[in-house]
């Protein structure tokens, strides 16, 4: 089964919850961003209430959580933004 390597970035509250800013993931080909979110939810009970990721970014642009991940992608889940 082919695998894809993805870099997961966590910012702000998600970095506090997961305890790491960056994680290298090796995923089955065909994995979607939303699947990665579900595995994060399974690992961290603070995320249990969030059935869907607040927002998803792939390679520094907003993307659908249903997007298939490709080898070398940079994935980030974007908690509610609060600039200004």
């Amino acid at each position: 089964m082919p695998r894809v390597k993805v870099r997961l970035l966590c910012f702000a509250v998600l970095r506090d919850i997961t305890g790491r800013a960056e994680t290298e993931l090796e995923l089955a080909d065909g994995t979607r961003a939303a699947d990665v979110w579900q595995s994060l939810r399974a690992q961290h009970r603070e995320l249990a209430a969030y059935e869907l990721p607040p927002m998803t970014a792939i390679n520094e642009s907003y993307a659908s959580p249903d997007q298939l991940l490709c080898d070398g992608d940079e994935l980030a889940f974007i908690p509610p933004v609060a600039g200004g």
């Binding site: 702000a12 509250v13 603070e46 970014a57 509610p80 933004v81 200004g84």
Partner: protein, 136 residues
């Protein structure tokens, strides 16, 4: 692209960067750390960002606003890191030959920056600290 800074904001320098001899007005907006939020006392705010994406997103917003308000020159800088009450977190300058376009563009800039740019803030006060917008 260099819209993010870790240093205090120099609004006068930002104004100087956009003003052209044909401009008859500029509007300067500064967002400032205040000492309260939702009934809690606030002492400081830590700003975090997905820096490369935030830079791109701000650039995209500038392009959109410049297209909607032709003739307006736009500059913006957002500060990151630990800020205290009274510190400016963001400054936006819009200049134009007449004042109307600058007011409109400046308002559009700050509204959109708050909506989509991946920047986050953790408020700290005597009651503890929390990431703004995150429902526990």
């Amino acid at each position: 692209m260099n819209f993010l800074t870790d240093a205090p904001i120099d609004a006068a320098a930002l104004v100087a960067r956009v003003m052209r001899p044909s401009d008859g007005a500029y509007v300067l907006f500064e967002g400032v750390v205040r000492n309260h939020h939702d009934g809690h006392a606030v002492e400081s705010i830590f700003y975090d960002a997905y820096r490369p994406m935030a830079e791109k997103e701000i650039a995209r917003i500038i392009d959109d606003v410049a297209r909607e308000f032709p003739g307006v020159a736009i500059a913006i800088v957002h500060r990151l890191g630990l800020l205290h009450v009274g510190d400016s977190s963001v400054a936006i300058v819009c200049s134009s030959p007449h004042r109307g376009e600058s007011f409109g563009a400046c308002r559009a800039m700050i509204d959109r920056v708050k909506q989509t740019v991946p920047i986050w803030k953790k408020e700290k006060g005597p009651d503890g600290e929390e990431w703004v917008g995150w429902q526990k």
